[in-house]
């Protein structure tokens, strides 16, 4: 039905399903091993529901040691493993295979230790991103990366995908905010990368593990860098009659020497969808809107917003509206962060995630409009404008097979466009299954080969989340290719 191929299930593995299940039940209490077809069904997909595969079984371990026992057992048996956090991946990162066992970290959801003096928090990886901040916010601290799905997504998933968020313009993405991880390797070895210090001796394992899409091991604990929040933060809404003006305004703000905490872009379609849900007071009669947020004490915020308003007016903003209360700010962000889900009110969607050089914004927005129109579809644009990370939402009807195919085609063309103008396929959602077959558009075979060599260090038999990231024709590595 969809264009992306999945490997054929291994009959040898399917044949010993009972034995595999029995082995899992020896290592984890039986109630946490999910085997009935009815119950496996909800685990067949994540937030990219166009792809679905019923897993062999699902197991929900309750400790690092249980994860180690499971991985050691499954790898000995040659069984593929699909790590899963909260299943909010938009790139199909947690999509199972028929001959694979899903290992979910949902039960590992505790805060282990918070050290405000050293500004670190040690957590189990299955905790949600927002739960970390909720836990430390009474003391004025927060964990910076804030993907839109932060309410539900897990730190484990954030680490797998190197997730970003609206506020990473100032604070960086996951890789810039993790000090250490505890990871279980395929053979059950438990290793600690990093720790409580700023940098680590030896190779920068965190760079490799963060963003490895569950292909190196299963992270069960993480030490997060936590930050003291500024005294206050205030977003303003800038409304433009021309899409290009909004794009130019983003560049002008940054060129003027100010880095706001966030600069978010929404086009008219997205504005209407989100306003309907969040009642945030978005201007409905503009072609495009920017949410620009600045931080500091009131006096600082006033100075910054005055400056931003001036730049915005010079760049054609018709509406400048500053949030007047915490409640209003919360509504503004609730609307933005719910953009994807709220789109469900009017259509199904495919969410793209390419990043482009911000100078290319006007051109790329025009081309996206053309591409989508060519495929007789509609698009809602909502994205992190400050860093050029686009999220065109291609709207379609999932019950219409032809529309889904056209939507996928349009999505591919948009991502190729991103690469063409000097950008990349994915800024924060990960390659997953969705962009796997486009990888050769961005990388040469030699580039991919080098990445695969790193993968093979952790997973020589392609057992960990194997059908993702690399096009199927690139694996398994033919004998003799290895040096």
């Amino acid at each position: 039905m969809t264009q992306i191929a999945m490997p054929q299930p291994d009959p040898l593995i399917l044949a010993k399903r009972e034995r595999i299940i029995a082995g899992l039940k020896e290592r984890v209490p039986a109630q946490w091993v999910i085997t009935e077809e009815d119950e496996r069904r909800p685990y067949e997909t994540d937030a990219l529901t166009a792809y679905r595969r019923l897993p062999l079984a699902v197991v929900l371990p309750g400790s690092t040691e249980e994860v180690a026992a499971i991985l050691s057992f499954l790898s000995r048996e040659g069984v593929k493993i699909i790590p899963r956090g909260a299943g909010t991946s938009l790139s199909g990162g947690a999509l199972p295979q028929e001959d694979a066992v899903v290992v979910g970290v949902g039960r590992l959801n505790k805060v282990l230790d918070v050290d405000f003096t050293n500004r670190t928090a040690r957590v189990q990886s299955g905790i949600t991103n927002l739960a970390v901040t909720t836990h430390i916010s009474p003391d004025g601290f927060f964990y910076a990366p804030d993907p839109s799905s932060q309410l539900a997504c897990t730190i484990a998933g954030n680490i797998a995908m190197n997730s970003g968020g609206a506020h990473c313009l100032k604070y960086g993405v996951t890789t810039n905010n993790i000090l250490g991880v505890r990871m279980v390797l395929l053979d059950g070895t438990i290793v600690d990368f990093g720790g409580e210090t700023f940098d680590q001796p030896g190779y920068d394992w965190l760079s490799l593990v963060i963003g490895s899409e569950g292909q190196f091991g299963i992270v069960t604990e993480a030490t997060l860098r936590i930050l003291r929040a500024c005294e206050g933060a205030r977003p303003c809404l800038l409304g433009f009659d021309k899409v290009e003006d909004a794009g130019a305004c983003v560049a002008a703000i940054i060129a003027s020497g100010i880095i706001p905490v966030a600069i978010e872009y929404m086009d008219q379609t997205a504005i209407r969808i989100c306003e309907d849900f969040a009642h945030a007071g978005y201007p409905l009669d503009v072609a495009a809107m920017l949410i620009v947020e600045v931080e500091g004490a009131d006096a600082e915020i006033d100075v910054l917003l005055t400056h931003i308003e001036k730049v915005a007016r010079e760049n054609g903003a018709r509406i400048v509206k500053v949030s007047k209360s915490e409640a209003e700010s919360a509504a503004i962000w609730k609307g933005r962060k719910s953009a994807f889900g709220a789109t469900g009110r009017i259509a199904d969607y495919l969410c793209m995630d390419g990043t482009i050089p911000t100078g290319q914004l006007p051109y790329v927005l025009t081309r996206i409009g053309e591409i989508v129109a060519h495929h007789r579809l509609r698009v809602a644009n909502v994205f992190h404008a400050g860093d050029g990370n686009l999220h065109p939402l291609i709207l379609f009807n999932a019950n219409d097979v032809d529309e889904l195919e056209r939507a996928e085609q349009a999505g591919n063309e948009i991502l190729e466009l991103c690469v063409e103008v000097g950008g990349c396929l994915t800024g924060e959602h990960g390659v997953g299954i969705e962009k796997r077959d486009l990888m050769e558009k961005q990388f040469t075979p030699v580039d991919l080969d080098q990445q695969i060599r790193v993968k093979l260090l952790f997973d020589p038999d392609w057992l960990l989340n194997p059908a993702k990231v690399f096009p199927l024709n690139l694996h398994p590595l033919p004998l003799g290719r290895a040096a």
Binding site: L60, G87, A152, S338, G344
Partner: protein, 444 residues
């Protein structure tokens, strides 16, 4: 989300509705984060999104419910926290109601389970029977230690049920009969109030306080002839025929008042019941004889707080400054989406109102959930009590009898209905539970 129902399946009204709901869901997973059972269990299957998927699979394929599907749907509290969270506007309530009906119709439950459900469905909606059973429960409680030692779910449920029975059974309320209470002074309005079932037996003081508060402000209150349980209890067990019968009886009773002396509103003092009565329109959408009447009833149904807000209730001359933790019932904040009304009224009435941390998570009461799922309900109660303790209140206020019963023994301070405090602050008598409370004596 993609669906695959046949045209024949879609000919069924419930299935058609469910299909519409499923199509809205984009499977983003936001709902998982605010679901009490997912929070405790960490299993997709015990999250709204997982249940939606289980239900989808069951309905699309026309499958009979399995024990597994029923287990996860049974664990759902119907707190509807997911509906507050859902950005896509998925109407989970109607979907899970449909699933419960499907499960009830297609899954033969074990004998003990059936018996327990039958007892609850028979006793709770009938005030006289329920009253008698409370006396019986007090006697039966001597068996609890024995039962608790048994490894059976039915035994645990029975213990949970017995534990919920109050130590003393209140006197029968004057409002347990059809009656009209005249407004004090010139009549400003006329409302019907749901007499209901269990609440009238367990805590008659709630409706009594509400009546005093309303009549003092010029509102005539009628307890209509023929009304009774709203149907919610059996509705949540998937017993649609019984719930519709009960609802029809109420609709008849209120329509006759509306068409007689007229009603400005139908007031509900238990938000759980309110959520259901407000949904009568949907429940009877395909019933040609009742669709219109049900919609009329639903249209003027209000939580008592919503209505009190429209009255000119003056702040007291001497505010009590009593610290009140407001526990928003799920049916209030999620079911009816009433988020701040009661808190505002209490503040205006001179109370210091504290919001409870993690206030969006259920206390575990959820109708008869605390009897049918005692383990999860118990953990949620402890969690709620710990959160309430963080704001160190003198009293807890809420708008739902289920939560009051659930929290009564767990929080160490009196648990009152919002209208009891509002009544007291505007000239009514001191609530009974406060006079008994030593803590309050200090404040008083």
């Amino acid at each position: 989300m993609q669906t695959s129902f046949s045209l024949a399946q879609l000919a069924d009204s419930d299935t058609r509705e469910s299909e519409k709901i499923l199509r809205t869901c984009v499977h983003c997973g936001f709902c998982t984060a605010t679901c009490p059972t997912y929070l405790l269990l960490g299993d997709e299957l015990d999250s709204p999104r997982g249940r939606i998927y289980l239900i989808k699979d069951m309905l699309e394929n026309g499958k009979k419910a399995t024990v597994e599907v029923a287990r996860h749907v049974d664990r759902c509290l119907s707190c509807l926290s997911c509906m507050s969270t859902c950005p896509s506007g998925v109407h989970y309530m109607h979907l899970v109601d449909h699933a419960r009906k499907h499960i009830e119709e297609t899954l033969p439950r074990p004998f003990a389970d059936r018996l327990m459900r039958a007892v609850l469905a028979t006793v709770l909606p009938r005030p006289e029977l329920f009253r008698l059973s409370l006396f019986a429960a007090r006697l039966a409680r001597v068996t609890s230690p024995l039962l608790a030692a048994l490894p059976f779910q039915w035994a645990k449920r029975t213990v949970a049920m017995l534990a919920l029975a109050p130590d003393t059974v209140p006197m029968r309320s004057p409002y347990s009969e059809p009656v009209t209470i005249a407004a004090e002074g010139p009549r400003q309005g006329r409302v019907a109030m749901l007499r209901g079932c269990a609440q009238g037996v367990l805590a008659p003081e709630i409706n009594e306080a509400a009546v005093r508060l309303l009549t003092r402000h010029g509102i005539e209150v009628v307890f209509a002839e023929g009304e009774g349980c709203c149907g919610a209890l059996v509705h949540h067990m998937g017993k649609q025929e019984a719930s519709h019968d009960q609802a029809r009886r109420n609709i008849d009773a209120w329509i006759s008042e509306m068409d007689g002396q007229g009603l400005d509103a139908i007031l509900i003092t238990a938000s759980g019941c309110g959520t259901t009565v407000k949904d009568y329109g949907f429940m009877f959408r395909d019933d040609s004889a009742y669709a219109q009447k049900a919609a009329r009833v639903a249209a003027i149904t209000r939580d008592v707080c919503e209505y009190v807000l429209t009255l000119d209730v003056q702040p007291p001359a001497m505010p009590s400054r009593l610290v009140v933790a407001y526990h928003s019932a799920c049916s209030m904040q999620h079911g009816q989406q009433i988020k701040t009304t009661a808190q505002g009224l209490l503040r205006k009435a001179g109370f210091v109102v504290k919001e409870v941390p993690e206030g969006h998570i259920c206390c575990g009461s959820a109708g008869v959930y605390n009897i049918l799922q005692p383990e999860i309900a118990g953990r949620l109660r402890e969690r709620k009590a710990a959160n309430i303790a963080k704001v160190t209140p003198s009293v807890v206020a809420t708008g739902n009898i289920g939560c009051m019963t659930q929290l009564a023994g767990a929080v160490g301070v009196p648990v009152l209905h919002t209208v009891e405090l509002l009544d007291w602050a505007s000239g009514g008598p001191l609530p009974r539970k406060l006079t008994k409370n030593a803590l309050f004596a200090q404040h008083g």
